[in-house]
Symmetry: C2
Subunit: 449 residues, 2 copies
């Protein structure tokens, strides 16, 4: 086991929990993950021997980062659908549904002027500011200028298809300069949704997609009124998915948000094209869009990730999206049967490996595997002292003496195993349980003391 000290930069030590399949979370206790200077995972040692840790600790230039007792490392959570510019509007949607929500809360001019920002606005400058902000913060992001040349109010619409394409290309060029290898930030082609795009614009964007190799994101089949609108606007297409397909916008590089009411034909088409789905349960409940049948999509072999869809969704937390994905799946199961339910493991798979695959990053992030990059959270909960009983797990015994995460909304009593701890985190956790965040090996957030 000869590893060059020049290569090993940081060694993370402790318990690592990640998805190894849709149904299974693996718990790697007393393990180590070695990460090089570029943020790449070189080694996953499970379990790690004390002698090896000692040897590493002596090597020059190597930092050891240990999880505290009861804490665990978890892959970074991935949001596959968020409208950054709408964040200030979070929670303000009244009893609206999609189309009136857009007109009442989303399009009004105060919003784009207020927010220089994922889905950016339709403004080139603010879209580029968002890309720069993400890059400077060390965050991964696909940033798309929102294309819309019809059906939106005049003040919030591209002049014509040509201008819309030209502005999209400007944004793509900006990102290519900002991050030439696309290591963190990339541009993403973003027709808002079929009703606000002309056929010409969609075809132009489809061509640009084929030519540039960029990903594309849009909305599909969120709401019944929207579906009827699409049917009336595109009578030549037999369904919503076909509208995108005819424009060359359905490929394995396409991220389709919502997909609540897809027909069998559409599911078959999406599957054939290899397009991916961003499931947005909080938004779909809040705007009464319906309950997406995620199990059906997964059973078809379609790749699914989670989206917060702020501000159709009221929370920017992917943990909340995962939690609500399990709740929505229970409402689905009332009519579709028991097997529709998503488990804790499945919801967290969608939030990590699922999201990574939606964005074509399945070899880069989403788990702790050699060759992937170190995108990770350190998660901690609050230990409530209890002298009487305890488990046999040494880490947890130790944890009882320490305070894993300070004040958090997740209370542990010492008898929980790791799986139960993860369930508690999913159902009661929030940002207070996230003690540190790394992206591509760089620490981008630490919880204030």
């Amino acid at each position: 086991m000869a590893i060059q000290s020049v290569v090993l930069k940081t060694i993370y030590v402790g318990t690592f929990i990640h998805s190894v399949s849709l149904a299974e979370l693996q718990v790697l206790k007393r393990s180590a993950v070695a990460v090089d200077e570029s943020g790449k995972i070189l080694l996953v040692e499970h379990p790690v021997e004390a002698s090896m840790l000692e040897m590493w600790a002596k090597e020059a230039g190597t930092t050891i980062v240990e999880a505290g007792p009861g804490q665990f490392f978890f892959p970074g959570l991935i949001d596959t659908h968020i409208h950054a510019s709408q964040y200030p509007n979070s929670g303000i949607f009244g009893k609206s549904t999609l189309l009136d929500w857009l007109n009442t809360y989303t399009f009004p001019s105060k919003l784009p002027s207020r927010n220089p920002a994922y889905y950016a606005t339709r403004d080139v400058t603010s879209t580029n500011i968002l890309a720069t902000t993400c890059h400077t913060a060390g965050q991964r992001a696909f940033v798309g200028r929102c294309c819309m040349d019809c059906m939106a109010p005049d003040y919030y619409r591209d002049t014509d298809a040509a201008t819309s394409l030209a502005d999209t290309i400007k944004c793509a060029e900006f990102c290519a300069k900002l991050d030439p290898k696309g290591e963190l930030v990339q541009s993403i082609i973003t027709p808002r949704f079929a009703p606000s795009c002309s056929r010409e614009l969609m075809r132009d964007l489809g061509d640009f997609m084929a030519q540039s190799g960029l990903l594309c994101q849009t909305h599909i089949s969120e709401n019944k009124g929207e579906i009827e609108l699409v049917a009336s606007l595109f009578p030549e297409c037999k369904n919503y998915a076909t509208v995108y397909d005819r424009a060359g916008l359905l490929s394995e590089k396409t991220v389709l948000a919502h997909a609540v009411h897809l027909t069998d034909d559409e599911i078959a088409l999406v599957k054939m094209r290899g397009s991916k789905i961003s499931h947005c349960p909080v938004s779909n409940a809040a705007l009464t869009s319906g309950a997406a049948k995620v199990r059906r999509l997964l059973d078809e072999g379609i790749v699914v990730g989670l989206g917060t869809d702020v501000s159709g969704g009221y929370s920017p937390s992917v943990l909340e999206a995962a939690r609500q994905a399990t709740m929505t799946s229970r409402f689905v199961s009332l009519t579709e049967g028991e097997e529709a339910k998503l488990s804790v493991e499945e919801a967290l798979y969608l939030a990590t490996r699922g999201g990574a695959e939606v964005l074509g990053l399945q070899k880069t992030v989403g788990a702790f595997e050699v060759g992937m990059e170190w995108d990770a959270l350190l998660v901690g909960c609050t230990f409530v002292p209890d002298e009487e009983e305890c488990d046999e797990d040494e880490d947890l015994l130790q944890a009882k003496q320490a305070v894993g995460g300070g004040m958090t909304p997740v209370d542990l009593f010492g008898w929980e195993n790791w799986e139960e701890m993860v369930a508690k985190w999913l159902y009661s956790g929030d940002d207070r349980n996230v003690l540190k965040v790394w992206v591509k090996g760089r620490k981008v957030h630490e919880k204030p003391a």
Copy 2:
């Protein structure tokens, strides 16, 4: 306006927001609420003049508590259904539904032995410890020993109906000694639910209810399997509600948790008896119980409050219950129509005045009215500096210079009106937005600095 200084103890000054009807939240800006030493509201002055505040400030023994800019007072939120002893299990339910959840997670012996404590356990001592704990903390609580003389595992069952009644009476006597006037803590008669109570026990508890004047709480019609079980156990009753009614347990002092699948006949019976409903949306989604038709109950004139139902529900937050009540109502509206949706105002009414009326406290708490008691929260959000634009509201202008609530999950940008601030609090808020809590005029919680 001659108010004796001996009477006025504390004067709260700032913005007060409370329900004046199911559909309407009233915003009292620049107002004052005067509270006497016993915690009773003597005066609601709206708006309050500066000269009056100056006069009060000079009176000996009077304290003035001012809300900061952008902060507001809100009536204390009321949880009408929580199993205190199950709190450590929050978030641990897998894919279970009611009956298997009870057997797998809830009844196992480690729980009662681990937790000396609402719904307490079936143990007299631990029930009384819970009552004492609430009383010492200055919290209001109805604490009930959980009665169950059948259908539960041996280790978690009362020996027989007579013992069950005797133990219930012991707990009632304990509370009567602890808090003779029942100003904060009262005992509540608590048959767990029909399947775990013999006819004899329920009749005995019904008699005790009539004789003691105490409230009664139990579960009803949570889950279809449970309903079938009740039908098979009580073939002489035409429905679930009738089981309780025959035992004399349905009265205007009865709190029925869940009521997800009540039939028309049962709704009519519940209405006739004046019994109240505790709606538990988080639990009903988590355990796939179904979606209670709250609008129907409200339209019938039945009183409804909210319950967290920990740990069937994974969150002890009534704000989360209110939030999920709006989400569940949207799932209901998918089949029952638009009018099923609950608004922000309605959800917060259920969390305050609705809950108060469920517990017979409608003249005591739930709003800011003369003669009620000062049960209140001070709510603050986080202001995000924005130099460009602002509103005309002076309080909000000031707020932009200050930080309303420190670090909270609710970001304000300065353009929100009070109604929008409340919506943001409902949908994004948590305990970090609660800066102070008073019960009966006494401060029982303050957010750590």
